[in-house]
Symmetry: C2
């Protein structure tokens, strides 16, 4: 000890930050290492995790799942109708965001959106009757994810709604999302007033056919190059889609003018898209969906293939764990609120749009989008840190999606549940925030993270399927 005290001390502190701070306050030099015990300190999970780390079968499975994700080629082929193009849409069915949830448990905005969809479909003439149908079990509710689809915020898809059709030309699977309605009073935030229904009807009768005519003339539109370009133009294609939407217009207008669409409807289409910088979100989402569905179902793979919020539960699915949802209560986001609103007004985290983060975009590609920090909070410097940090929990990187400000580094992609549980580094998610009451709309945006618990839950199942049943 005396010998030690005669030398200058350089201390590394692991674990509790306060020890390090005390040393620094006393004038000493100490480097703090951020570390938490794996699995939040749960010994049993930690022990199971140890069995899974660097496990040959998982590594091989992840290699395959990740290669399938990388090879997937999402292509926009047209605009269809949910009833006709999505599987299993017969009768009075309404799809919603996130994992399965009963009417009684649903959050305000999701209920509001469902009632709007019932009116839109003509199944009821007013909100009271619509609610009675929902309560009486006359409507089947099902996650979008169970029908090859994804939906932003409440994520409502009812049978008559037009949907983007995205084909994965590499593996043959399809992905669907409704057309983006814009901001303000819109169905996905739970609004269901006559103007909302009217807009949905216009989208069905005019916008969708015009878009479809345009795409039939342009021919199939490859979406990965469009996303890659958008990343070089300041989008992260989750909460910022200004560039993607503009690039899309450029392609669609030429097609529309080439088609037999009526000039006035083309004008309405362009005005609508030009006035809605979020329009491309509903194409980045199904692109991510088809890439991740291609990676889903590889036995033994620990790759996350979906993260989704139903406004009550945050849920994930894992490639090697069949179609099981792992869920935990959804957090309320401590983000940037619009004037007049606070976290007390917020619904819990909501929407399938975290599919973008699951695919290495959104929060994982924050470095591409310094301007988004004005919307979701943080600084451009934070954005760079975040994108790099995510590499600690992913299987690999995606060189089709590069980040200019990080010297064109590829985005981190393919979240590995083992790495999340081992490091306690949580997948970052950029998200819009809905008012907890139906119909008020968006009241903010923020940066949040997927809850650790939901990843911890997967470890026992993975252990069971990879080791115990092997």
């Amino acid at each position: 000890m005396p010998k030690l005290h005669n030398k200058e001390l350089n201390i590394s502190n692991i674990g509790l930050r306060a020890f390090s701070e005390n040393i620094q306050e006393s004038g000493g030099s100490s480097t703090h290492v951020d570390w938490q015990p794996p699995a939040g300190g749960d010994r049993e999970i930690g022990s199971k995790l140890a069995d899974l780390v660097n496990h040959e079968r998982i590594e091989a499975a992840n290699h395959e799942a990740f290669a399938r994700y990388l090879a997937a080629n999402p292509v926009l082929v047209g605009v269809g109708v949910a009833r006709e193009d999505l599987p299993d849409m017969d009768g009075k069915i309404i799809l919603h965001a996130g994992a399965p949830v009963d009417w009684n448990d649903m959050c305000g905005p999701m209920r509001g959106a469902i009632l709007g969809a019932v009116i839109y479909e003509g199944w009821a003439e007013n909100l009271v009757d619509a609610e009675k149908m929902a309560v009486d079990g006359e409507i089947r509710f099902d996650p979008c994810h169970h029908h090859n689809a994804v939906g932003p915020m409440a994520g409502i898809i009812s049978p008559s709604m037009p949907v983007w059709i995205v084909n994965n030309t590499e593996h043959g699977n399809q992905g669907f999302t409704t057309l983006n309605e814009g901001l303000g009073k819109v169905l996905r935030f739970g609004a269901n007033s006559p103007e909302v229904i009217e807009r949905l009807k216009w989208m069905e009768k005019s916008l969708a056919p015009t878009l479809n005519s345009a795409i039939q003339k342009t021919g199939p539109i490859e979406l990965k190059p469009l996303i890659g370009q958008a990343l070089h133009m300041g989008d992260e294609v989750h909460n910022r889609n200004a560039a993607g939407s503009s690039l899309l217009i450029k392609k669609l207008v030429v097609g529309a003018l080439d088609s037999d669409a009526v000039q006035n409807e083309i004008k309405q289409m362009v005005s609508f898209i030009a006035g809605n910088d979020h329009f491309f979100l509903n194409l980045s989402m199904p692109s991510c969906k088809v890439m991740l569905d291609a990676a889903h179902g590889v036995p033994n793979s620990s790759m996350v293939t979906a993260m989704a919020r139903n406004g009550v539960k945050f849920g994930i699915r894992v490639s090697g764990l069949s179609d099981q949802w792992f869920t935990t209560p959804a957090p309320v986001v401590d983000g940037l609120y619009f004037p007049g609103y606070s976290i007390d007004d917020a619904a819990a985290d909501l929407g399938d749009s975290a599919i973008t983060e699951t695919a290495g975009l959104g929060g994982f590609a924050m470095a591409a989008s310094p301007a988004i920090t004005q919307f979701v909070g943080g600084s451009p410097a934070d954005a760079l840190v975040q994108s790099r940090y995510m590499r600690n929990i992913t299987i690999g990187t995606n060189s089709q999606f590069t980040l200019p400000a990080l010297d064109f580094a590829p985005t981190a992609a393919g979240i590995d549940v083992r790495k999340v549980v081992d490091t306690s580094i949580l997948p970052v998610v950029n998200t819009g925030i809905a008012h907890k009451e139906a119909g008020v709309g968006q009241i903010g945006a923020g940066i949040t993270s997927a809850p650790l618990d939901v990843f911890v839950q997967t470890i026992a199942s993975l252990h069971q399927s990879v080791i115990s049943s092997a």
Copy 2:
């Protein structure tokens, strides 16, 4: 001395870097300060500069000139015709980029472009006859800058050409530029084959009237907000205009569809702009021109109001030094060359487009555009350094143009000749590189800087007008 040698030495080295390196190589610690004597070491100029530094009349004049630059409000009001809208365009006149230059001294691309313009105007039927006219002095050559205009590369404007009309609604002055032809075989790089002339005719007969109809329906389009948005989408609005061009299309299409323009011509217009990511350059240039012309002519101001290259000479104009050009041989740019080409094939630096850097954009706003480094060279990190470095030589910053990656810092703007000569920090310019032979086109792009000599030249004149004649 013995006392000094017993302490640890921390050395600061000013001037020759080799001294510092020697100390470091011997294991010592030395910090090198980049410094050069003002005015490249010219004692007489250095002494005059000393009289001008912090001179009350210059400071007041710069304050006024810079305020006028900031207040200027460039607005796109339509597409006109050079003969009708530019001042003093009677007879056989052809405008070119940069300071005045005689036919005999012009570089290859400028001559090629002029011959193309002669054919386009119908003044001659073939290149031989056209060249004879030029040699025989039948054509009046004049800088674009003398007619409230600017032109990229060769910068050729002949009387029948359509021009963007940009009004500065704050001070009433106007700025003009031709419509951007795209890349490849185009007049501004000296190409003059029949396909080039044909495209120019189509632009005159179809594109220009369609654009003008669109603008008459959209109403005047404010250009500063568009430039500001483009900076947040990865453009620096000199060599990268992908976002600006997309944002412009969004506005123009709606206007065009609202007008009585024919659908097929609208389609051609959109296809042409959608296929040319440089299209917006020809709007960022006249925007900068009207901002800087508003700042020009303030007695005693040392603010640079134009930097322009005619392919032979690099020229600048200074607000307080009337319409005099200060020129020096234009450098050949050591940039990134397209495959098959090298610096031996390059024309000297060419074009009025350095007006963007003069206004705080282009190279001064590199930090907004990490993706441009793939085109002009350097790394995204260099881009940040460059944008910050330019603050050393400007009068102020422009908060209308902000740089997301630098935490939304405003661009450095308003180059002060005194600061350039004092620090030897040279204004950075992003530039395209033309082949030295007419008609080959663009062969590369790069980052270059304005030559010190041209700023040194202004000091004597400024001293004369501010002090000797006062």
